[in-house]
């Protein structure tokens, strides 16, 4: 789960990483009073779960409450790469002498947490990695040993931070970031930029914080931070129904059981010349109600013109899936053509159930490839 900047900063604050003082605002009026409380020049920052806010005009300076209100009016409701701005973070503006970069993530190959640190912060880290790889210091941490002061020393000396005051502050932040990373079950904690003010104070000016969905059960406070409004409405409906759904932008609705098979089905539809409307994984169980719920989500997308059901029954029973399809067609009055390919556990029974229903818009196909081709034809 990705957190908004202000939520990530809240976690930083809890773990003792210095951040600027700020307030949340959802209306221009709230932005004004936030600016009044904070005093002086403030930054008005769009809270959206996507990068490139600055370039898109979602971050503006305001030197007075009047100006904060005006900027907020401009930014609220703005569309930033498909995300509508509904919340703003109003923060006291910072004077910046230098911009660094510090992050902690998983190195999936090494199967260890990985620190990355560079004094060339403020820009895209991929760019630093590509143009001046020597400036990017990387350091793995043994997850059983944890983070020690020497890790921080290694990072600051290797990156060439000379000022003793800065060294000390960054070392402290390195240790606290590791505590936050482990403590909040994060997959990514990124501070870009980590700024140094003209007075030599080091602070996190931004935050990118991703928490492991699998660990939310032990962090109810973080689980509550999920911004349902920021998600695609269909994806939010899917989450509510317990279906794994990713919106794509084509016309062929794709449903499968299991992430790998569904991903493969999306590919096969594309290779057959079609454009998938979504990725929808029924998951392991796939009882009749689960199928009805999944079909409800998939057909809520008005772009869907045909549906490809690709089921390889293991734990999932094909007869249950067939019953679910019939139930959904009847309950929702689905008119779109549905192409069904069933194999594995109870496939014959499933095919018989569909066959006996003899519905006009149901098409059975024997293989995954034929099913995909048929669904593509029917969407045309």
């Amino acid at each position: 789960m990705d957190l908004h900047e202000h939520q990530g900063k809240e976690l930083f604050r809890r773990y003792g990483i210095p951040v600027s003082d700020g307030r949340l605002a959802t209306t221009p009026g709230e932005a004004r009073s936030a600016a009044e409380t904070l005093g002086g020049t403030v930054v008005v920052k769009a809270q959206v779960l996507i990068g490139g806010r600055g370039k898109a005009g979602g971050i503006k300076l305001a030197s007075s409450p009047d100006e904060a209100e005006a900027r907020a009016g401009e930014i609220l409701g703005m569309d930033i790469r498909g995300h509508t701005v509904a919340k703003l973070w109003i923060e006291r503006a910072s004077d910046i002498a230098r911009e660094y970069y510090l992050s902690l993530t998983f190195d999936r190959s090494a199967k260890q947490p990985l620190f990355m640190f560079t004094t060339q912060g403020g820009i895209d880290i991929e760019e630093v990695a590509a143009t001046s790889p020597d400036a990017l210091v990387k350091l793995l941490v043994d997850p059983l040993e944890g983070c020690h002061p020497w890790h921080a020393r290694r990072l600051v000396y290797a990156a060439g931070v000379d000022d003793p005051g800065e060294q000390k502050q960054i070392a402290a932040i390195v240790g606290k970031l590791y505590e936050a990373f482990v403590g909040a079950d994060a997959m990514l904690c990124e501070i870009n930029p980590l700024i140094v003010t003209p007075d030599g104070e080091v602070r996190a000016l931004d935050s990118k914080f991703t928490v492991d969905d699998n660990a939310l059960f032990r962090h109810p406070d973080i689980a509550e931070m999920r911004d349902a409004a920021a998600a695609d409405p269909l994806e939010a409906l899917a989450r509510e129904k317990g279906v794994t759904y990713v919106k794509l932008d084509g016309e062929v609705g794709v449903l499968g059981n299991g992430a790998g098979l569904t991903m493969s089905s999306v590919d096969v539809v594309t290779f057959a010349g079609g454009r998938p409307a979504n990725f929808c994984d029924l998951g392991g169980g796939g009882d009749a109600q689960g199928v009805v719920d999944a079909l409800e989500v998939v057909t809520s997308d008005p772009q869907v013109r045909s549906i490809f059901f690709n089921i390889f029954g293991g734990i999932t029973r094909c007869d249950e899936v067939a019953r679910g399809i019939l139930q959904a067609v009847e309950q929702m009055g689905l008119g779109q053509p549905i192409v069904v390919r069933l194999d594995g556990t109870n496939a014959e029974e499933g095919r018989r159930i569909l066959d006996e229903a003899s519905l006009q818009n149901l098409h059975a196909e024997g293989t995954m490839l034929d099913g995909a081709r048929r669904a593509v034809e029917l969407a045309a």
Binding site: L248, M263, F271, T367
Partner: protein, 290 residues
């Protein structure tokens, strides 16, 4: 010979008294797997259809000589169950449970690494050596015994490819589902090395998907270390960046982890990559004729 599970497997099922554990534990036994024990704290002394249940793994090991553990306990307790199995001297731990926190897996991986324990999963369908033993939830009837090793990050996609192979008259030595999470106990590399050393295995199919760089590392390993031919399949050619495709590990971040990059890396090392499961099975069949 096969790998990981075979007639010498003596299986203890952690969570045998739960509904999933019971269903699959008994199914594995009817397949012919030697299921010697179950473990559920507080239910020691009971039995599940004749399989004795113990309170602790160490109890099960000392009474029954179990050497392999299958973990079916709920996610919040799965890491603890795996540590317990390792501590009790179990050599192979196969975790079916879905939803184990990634930080737990980081620590567990480091823990088992130095103890020489083989950990498969979590969030995986298990391991099947057709005709010998089945540990996990793979529907064995799809597969037949043969000479092709199959290793995969996905469950149902593995069934699809196994089904296509069977239709072409090809069988498998062992099918290994390593799981789709970002941090899993065994990587493609670990399993490829086992297949290379296995006498029954003549060819290998590797089923990957978007995310991470395990397929790229496997490509280098295959070129440098393997004499047996390998065919690969990658799912997720059309997946958009930044979206998790069902598996927590299946996400394209930045320029890393795309299916095309993986295909290119594999093909650059002379490894053929199928674009659909059907084509992949056909490539394997072509190899078989050579």
């Amino acid at each position: 010979m096969a790998i990981i599970v075979d007639p010498d497997t003596r299986l203890v099922v952690q969570g045998l008294t739960g509904s999933e554990g019971r269903f699959h534990g008994l199914r594995n036994r009817s397949y012919g797997t030697n299921v010697v024990a179950g473990v559920t704290p507080g239910k020691g002394g009971q039995d599940v259809d004749g399989i004795p249940v113990f309170d602790t793994v160490v109890g099960a090991v000392s009474e029954t000589g179990a050497n392999t553990a299958m973990v079916f306990v709920p996610a919040p307790f799965a890491a603890d169950a795996m540590y317990e199995a390792v501590d009790a001297g179990i050599a192979t731990v196969i975790c079916i449970t879905e939803g184990v926190p990634a930080h737990e897996m980081l620590r567990l991986h480091a823990f088992v690494q130095v103890r020489g324990v083989r950990l498969i999963g979590p969030n995986c369908p298990g391991v099947l050596s057709p005709g010998k033993a089945n540990v996990g939830i793979i529907p064995a009837e799809i597969f037949r015994e043969g000479a092709i090793g199959l290793v995969s990050r996905s469950g149902t996609l593995t069934y699809q490819i196994g089904h296509e192979l069977t239709q072409l008259g090809l069988g498998n030595s062992t099918i290994v589902g390593i799981g789709g999470d970002p941090i899993v106990g065994s990587s493609f590399l670990n399993i490829l090395a086992l297949f290379e050393a296995d006498r029954q295995t003549e060819r290998v199919v590797m089923v990957g998907e978007i995310g991470g760089d395990e397929e790229e590392k496997a490509a280098a390993f295959i070129e440098a270390e393997m004499s047996k031919p390998v065919v690969a399949y990658i799912a997720g050619f059309t997946a958009p960046p930044g979206k998790t495709m069902g598996h927590a590990g299946a996400i394209i971040s930045g320029s890393e982890g795309t299916a095309q990059a993986k295909k290119d890396a594999l093909e650059a090392r002379g490894i053929r990559v199928g674009t659909t499961p059907t084509e992949t099975a056909r490539l394997v069949a072509e190899l078989a004729r050579v």
